[in-house]
Amino acid sequence: MSSQAMAVETRKNLDPNDVILEVTDLKKHFPISAGIVFQRQVGAVRAVDGVSFQVIRGETLGLVGESGCGKSTTGRTILQLYRPTEGSVRFEGQELSTMSGNDLRQMRRRMQIIFQDPFASLNPRMTVGSIVSEPLQIHRIYSNKQERQQYVEALMEKVGLNPYFINRYPHEFSGGQRQRIGIARALALEPSFIVADEPISALDVSIQAQVVNLMEELQDELGLTYLFIAHDLSMVRHICDRVAVMYLGKIVELGPVDEVYDNPQHPYTQALLSAVPVPDPQVEENRQRIIIAGDLPSPASPPTGCNFNTRCPVRFDLCFEEPDPPLIEVRPDHYVSCHRVT
């Protein structure tokens, strides 16, 4: 078992029934092939490279980090849209990574995904009614057409869409309304867990609050659990209970949001949070930014030692030695992977 996994094992006082999802040492590597006639594997993109965490029923766990750090791949591998290269995903007590066929299909009813781009993720030739009811048809729920229509109308109402528009097409709706359609569709099978992959990034600022408020209301009402993937660190603080910071396929810091935001321990988290602009000139005038130089290294050839050692402002000898720093609990429920801290 990896050190990340062991660290999470140490979480105390948790009723195992409270854990809806348990991810252990999860890896997803995409092969890189070369050759014109005979394709052979010459390497791998280590998109997700050993992450472990738990999600508690009813909470929102945020997943943040720079573009390409592996957030979406983590979400999709949990849902088994990508099959893991290694590691385990236990959802509501059942192991998904070895599940297939009808068993997996049944489990998928309980877990849904909302995508970033409400424009690209909806079939332009389907009406809202058929988009929202498609999952019901696939799973043969409500064979009675009229009952199904009533259910879809109720769902539309729930997400703030006028059921009167049930026969309209996606292009007739605004971005925020399209995201509501995506949410209604995700809710159709009454899931308990939703991966929201950048659900508001493509929306106008004035519309983002509408969608976030809706997600929070639905969570309270239906007891949903969210994995909320986002770039917007301010929104993550608002909506999430806990947050996991990813860097190059690994979790570098994990803890309750206020704890992590007010008291970040990992040098990457510190730099990331200090880089976020705050809409207040008075605050901005007095802010000390930690500017980290350079770009994210390629996940096809991550550095030896700590993944962050190419950019870390406080690196030292140990950071270049294998193995990389383990994720260790530094305060109650607050985990950090850095030799400086632990």
Binding site: V205, S206, A209, N213, E216, H238, L272, P281, D295
Partner: protein, 336 residues
């Protein structure tokens, strides 16, 4: 300080098959030498079109600058011939865009692209311009700059390409730099690098700057003055302290209220602006924000629908005439 740029009553429309798009509907503002103006607003509010118009870059057809004057150092840019305008673009006014790949030529080396403008505007020869291009890349923090002159755009990361764009923009020491969402496509850590760089270079070159963004946080840190746009019009404008600390327009107020804060725990519900942004194919007779405005609804203001509120000094502005807004109501007093 003296006025560098004076835009008056700019109106821009697009005549498309789906009808007329009323993109910019009477925009006026001034910019002083060395000043940074932040233009904020949602998608489609007319930010890019107004800045393209003052650079003479509106594609026509379908676009047309219907009226307005753009006075830059005493000349009206809108009346210049295309080749006169070309001399000003790049030399005196430079522009950087959101996606550097659309403005960098993928088949030319970075060096060729920077030296081209140095040869055109500064009359340098090849070795002089290569030396200067390398200095510029070095200045924007590209390691091993001289060698990288011979690389193509795709060999640079997104953040580095944006640095190259900045180097190109600054190559002829412009008096005005227009940056249209230059960091929107970048990660926050890279955005912070670019913003620090631009701030530092701006002071060095004493440039004026227009920074266009939908991110209110970004302009809070960088702009002297903020202009809030909605539906092709200016809703509110003032110093950044006035607009953020003493916002008077219902739209500005709504936007600020809907933003969560990084620096405080987000217990309360976000206040949301109802409805969706306007369809720019209709020219509203009154205030473009009227369909979504809760102040109008509260005060039952009928005139918002059919009379355009003028852009005027806010009531009780504390002696400062530069804080202006376009609204029939006074939200501080709750009266119209």
């Amino acid at each position: 300080m003296s006025v560098l740029l004076d835009v008056k009553d700019l109106i821009v429309r697009f005549y498309t098959q789906e009808g007329t798009v009323y993109a910019v509907n009477g925009v006026s503002f001034e910019l002083e030498e060395g000043e940074t103006l932040g233009i904020v607003g949602e998608s489609g509010s007319g930010k890019s079109v107004s800045s393209l118009a003052l650079m003479g870059l509106i594609p026509s057809p379908p676009g047309k600058v219907e009226s307005g004057t753009v006075t830059f150092e005493g000349r009206d840019l809108l009346t210049l011939k295309p080749d006169q305008m070309r001399l000003i673009r790049g030399k005196e006014i430079a522009m950087i865009f959101q996606d550097p790949m659309t403005s960098l030529n993928p088949v030319l080396t970075i060096g060729t692209q920077i030296t081209e403008s140095l040869k055109l505007h500064e009359g340098m020869n090849t070795s002089q311009s290569r030396k200067r291009a390398a200095d510029l890349l070095d200045m924007v923090g590209i390691p091993d700059a001289y060698r990288r002159l011979d690389d193509y755009p795709h060999q640079f990361s997104g953040g580095m390409r944006q640095r190259v764009m900045i180097a190109m923009g600054l190559s002829c020491n412009p008096k005005l730099l227009i940056a249209d969402e230059p960091t929107t496509a970048l990660d926050v850590t890279i955005q912070a690098q670019i913003i620090e760089l631009v701030k530092q270079l701006k002071d060095e070159f004493n440039m004026a700057m227009i920074w266009i963004t939908h991110d209110l946080g970004v302009v809070a840190g960088i702009a002297d003055r903020i202009q809030v746009m909605y539906g092709g019009r200016i809703m509110e404008s003032g110093s950044s302290h006035e607009v953020f600390g003493d916002s008077r327009h219902p739209y500005t107020e709504g936007l600020l209220g809907s933003l969560p804060r990084l620096d405080s725990s987000g217990e309360e519900k976000l206040t949301q602006i109802e409805g969706s942004p306007p369809d720019m194919r209709n020219e509203p007779a009154g205030c473009p924000f009227a369909p979504r405005c809760d102040v109008r609804e509260h005060l039952n203001l009928e005139r918002c629908w059919d009379e355009r509120p003028p852009l005027e000094t806010v009531p009780n502005a504390g002696g400062d005439e530069t804080h202006v807004m376009s609204c029939w109501a006074d939200i501080r007093e709750g009266v119209a």
